[in-house]
């Protein structure tokens, strides 16, 4: 259990309180430059937070050096020892922990198997592909058997398809460790597919926490709604209120079963990826995007009516985020 009490990343940012349980994957979802990396570095002990206390299983680790913390960190960049083979890279954290020789070999082989690196044990990092290098970095972090595993956008530098498959593998691997896993990302897809617990992050502070579906259904404010929306959330300003409409909740046909509201969408661009169609346009000067299943053709430049069910509209009082 990792416990943050009144932690401020910077002197003037809001304090954060959170209880991050072991054996769970906590996905920290935030935009670029929202302070995710600083949070990751603070947890790893590479940076110090402005104030507050970080406790691990009841022990205060706030002032503990990175080297003395039972924390492992995986970065965006693929960090391995360049002069060592894959095997030595995996063995070194075990060696540092004083694991016996036989046990080291056993554990390194086990990790290599889990990560699909068993055929590459005698290669050097520069002889590996990007995906394999990051697998190795993840393996080194797992070999530390740390109680906290911090992953700072670990898949962001990989090809799209590789990212998808490694993400699937990670879920199983990380669940087995029993560690507190903190995984930062900008992609709501990561939150849905990996997280048992989501931490929405903006302006160097926590906006909302909860199970992915709860956070999706009941965002506390507009920022929270936007973070959990792919690609973004649509904004509509009415007197005293800001409405947030998720792209998948806006449709072209008037729903028959529930009261709905109509909007005039000026279509600017229609994009498709085969499975979905994204219609980009504007409603009352605000940029909107509508996500439709399958393929759809809409004339760019024209205004078309679009509908959203009343109960899908997320309403927030004006000025609240």
């Amino acid at each position: 259990m990792l416990e943050l009490t009144d932690v401020r990343l910077q002197p003037h940012t809001p304090p954060m309180n959170a209880m991050l349980g072991g054996g769970e994957i906590h996905v920290v979802l935030g935009a670029n430059r929202s302070g995710k990396t600083l949070l990751a570095r603070c947890l790893a002990g590479l940076a110090s937070c402005a104030s507050g206390t970080v406790r691990l299983d009841g022990t205060d680790i706030t002032r503990l050096d990175a080297g003395r913390r039972p924390v492992a960190l995986v970065n965006q960049a693929f960090v391995n020892y360049p002069a060592w083979t894959v095997r030595d890279n995996l063995v070194s954290p075990l060696h540092a922990r004083g694991v016996s020789r036989a046990e080291r070999q056993h554990r390194a082989m086990q990790l290599a198997r889990q990560l699909g690196l068993q055929a590459l044990l005698h290669r050097y990092p520069h002889e590996l592909s990007g995906g394999q290098q990051q697998r190795l970095a993840i393996g080194r972090a797992l070999a530390k058997d740390a109680r906290v595993l911090v992953m700072d956008e670990p898949l962001v530098n990989l090809d799209y398809k590789l990212r998808e498959s490694l993400r699937e593998e990670l879920r199983g691997l990380l669940a087995e460790t029993g560690a507190v896993v903190v995984y930062t990302t900008t992609d709501p897809g990561d939150a849905f597919s990996l997280a048992s617990h989501v931490v929405l992050f903006a302006g160097h502070a926590i906006v909302q926490t909860g199970a992915p579906m709860d956070v999706y259904r009941h965002p506390v404010n507009f920022v929270a709604a936007a973070l959990m929306s792919e690609p973004t959330v649509n904004r509509h300003q009415v007197r005293g209120e800001v409405w947030a409409l998720r792209p998948e909740h806006v449709r072209l046909a008037r729903p028959k079963d529930a009261p709905a509201r109509e909007f005039g969408l000026r279509v600017e661009e229609v994009e498709t990826n085969g499975a979905h169609t994204f219609v980009h346009g504007s409603v009352h000067e605000e940029s909107w995007v509508v996500k439709l299943d399958g393929m759809a053709a809409l004339p760019p430049g024209e205004q078309v009516p679009v509908y959203a069910r009343e109960r899908d509209i997320l309403r927030f009082p004006n000025g609240a985020g």
């Binding site: 910077q10 002197p11 110090s48 402005a50 104030s51 002032r63 050096d65």
Partner: protein, 291 residues
């Protein structure tokens, strides 16, 4: 951000360096300042003379001449070494075994001790047995660097160029290697000529490296002592006597400690001034452009 205890420990680690610098740099400097305001006849007989030595030094014609020669020499050397170094760096292949080999060859002059450089050139340029000197004489040009001031100057500049251009080459090579290939490709597609590629792609990317090169070479050439001392000994006459050698003549040759000390302080301030000017006018200007 609150400082962690470890951070304070870091200061302790720096302390030995601070002490060493203090004892090796600041204390001798203060001694020199102390000497420069006294007339020292022998160890026990010394008078406080105030700024007299400074006044004398500033009025000293030989110092003016040495300073003038110094500036001409430094800027001539810089004016040749910088473009030449960049030119050579541009001609080197960017990668492969040939690149490494050529870089090592280029770096060799930098590894030669200063007095050896002087000695090499002293022999190399001799009209009777030196390869260069004899060759020039063989061409029918009456060349003798120990007799003709112009020849002495040219030999000195050639020696400095031989010795230090490599530094610019190495720095320039590092700068050029860091330019992504996409820039060259884009310039090619934009129809840019060789000169434009140099002017608009390479030069802007080399700027930071070149500033360092200029600063290093300027400071270094202003303090040049060993090589001309070995090669020409400041001659013929005083025609190749630069500031540091002039200083050595007063301090060691004539043992005028007071004037020498005053001169040292002026010399030091001068270099400081030039570097400061360079920094404020060029480096800070460049940073302002970036902001």
């Amino acid at each position: 951000m609150r400082t962690k205890p470890e951070r304070q420990a870091a200061w302790l680690m720096v302390l030995p360096v601070v002490l060493v610098v203090a004892f090796s740099g600041v204390v001798p400097l203060m001694t020199v300042v102390n000497y420069s305001v006294q007339d020292i006849l022998d160890v026990d007989t010394r008078f406080f003379v105030g700024f007299d030595w400074y006044r004398d030094a500033l009025r000293d014609v030989r110092l003016h001449e040495a300073l003038w020669r110094q500036l001409v020499f430094s800027f001539t050397a810089l004016a040749i070494e910088l473009p030449l170094g960049i030119l050579v760096a541009r001609c080197l292949p960017r990668q492969g075994r040939a690149a490494s080999l050529l870089l090592v060859l280029c770096a060799i002059p930098l590894l030669v001790p200063l007095n050896v450089v002087g000695t090499i050139w002293q022999i190399f340029a001799r009209g009777d047995i030196g390869m260069l000197g004899a060759a020039i004489n063989g061409l029918g040009i009456d060349y003798n660097y120990t007799r003709e001031p112009l020849h002495a100057w040219m030999t000195l500049v050639a020696m400095d160029v031989w010795h230090w251009t490599s530094l610019v080459v190495l720095l320039g090579f590092a700068g050029l290697s860091s330019i992504p290939p996409a820039y060259y490709q884009a310039a090619d597609l934009d129809g840019a000529g060789r000169w434009q590629v140099f002017r608009h792609v390479e030069l802007p990317h080399l700027r930071a490296v070149l500033l360092i090169a200029v600063l290093l070479r300027l400071m270094d050439s202003l303090m040049i002592y060993t090589e001309p001392f070995v090669l020409t000994g400041g001659g013929p006459g005083n025609t190749t006597t630069f500031l540091s050698q002039h200083l050595a003549t007063i301090a060691v040759g004539q043992f005028d400690l007071g004037p020498a000390a005053a001169f040292s302080v002026i010399y030091f301030l001068l270099i400081l001034l030039l570097c400061w000017l360079f920094h404020t006018l060029v480096v800070a200007g460049a940073e302002r452009d970036d902001a």
